[in-house]
Subunit: 188 residues, 2 copies
């Protein structure tokens, strides 16, 4: 298990999270039990149509009443390549396909959890089928412009995407050179 010492023991296995513990030597020579979690890595995609619209989701979850805006994405299956997972999640949740994919960055949301979030852009995406949602998903698609995406992130109405991507969007909203850079990255 990358990210924990070799002698770390798995002390719990859950449906989403596994828990690892080990004895860690402290700076003063004393010992303490340290704990880290493992969970499936995730993918998020900035999904762009040939008309330079960005597809985002309005969704809700079975244990939450409220609808919220999010990126298109989901969990990487065990052993699955991140790009394969991103293409699969995009197809299932939106029905779109693209042949112009680029990895923007990989981000670790919190240091105590072995969890990497892969953020992709997929340009020129075309609708090829209907959504394939499972029983735990309610997802509506929305098309927004590049400027609207920046506004939705700046206002926090859209709560998804990596911290790195969010910071790029806010920089782009208020700084002209950053705007041109990010627009080129996203729209190509």
């Amino acid at each position: 298990m990358e990210g924990v010492p070799k002698d770390a023991k798995k002390v719990f296995g859950g449906v989403l999270f596994d828990v690892y513990q080990w004895d860690q030597e402290m700076y003063d020579g004393s010992m303490a039990v340290f704990e880290r979690l493992n969970r499936p890595n995730t993918v998020e995609t900035v999904l762009v149509t040939p008309e330079n619209k960005i597809i985002i989701e309005r969704q809700r979850q079975p244990d939450r009443e409220d609808w919220f805006l999010s990126s298109v994405g989901g969990r990487i299956d065990e052993g699955e390549d991140p790009l394969v997972a991103a293409k699969r999640e995009v197809l299932e949740e939106s029905g779109y396909e693209s042949d112009d994919w680029e990895l923007l960055h990989v981000w670790r949301p919190t240091s105590k959890i072995l969890w990497d979030d892969y953020v992709y852009v997929a340009r020129g995406a075309q609708k090829v089928q209907e959504q394939e949602l499972d029983g735990g998903e309610q997802i509506e698609l929305m098309e927004v412009s590049f400027d609207e995406l920046l506004d939705l992130i700046d206002s926090r109405e859209l709560s998804g995407f990596s911290q790195i991507f969010r910071e790029m969007c806010i920089r782009a909203k208020y700084d002209k050179p950053s705007y041109e850079d990010l627009k080129k990255t996203i729209l190509g």
Copy 2:
């Protein structure tokens, strides 16, 4: 346990994380086991001296080789008031005290974990004692200006602070009205 259904069961108790599970009805009527974690809430403080310098930390952790920049803060003890915890962590980690505290916001870093991060500003902070570090802490203090704080967050050299506060800082760096607002909030 706030944030999980009443019938959720604690299925694991760790040194940092507890795991809760429950049977969740899905939109199609099927059932699935849902899982949430609980961990101690945390505090982070924007600690400001009478000379309008902001105190940040250069620290490392027993299971990491690298030094990194962070905010002054830590975990809230069981049953402890968040403001009391913030004052305690500031005194232990920096030796500073302030009598001008303000809660900026409360932030939930990830939806799958019952974990609230309280972000405070403490103005006019004076050094009243030496640091009181435990055996698992190596912390050096740094003084930076308001503008340097914005640069360190914008460049991600400083990885701490809530996503909300980070976004405020980046907005402030590139947008003059946001700069004046945040400077007034932080420096008073």
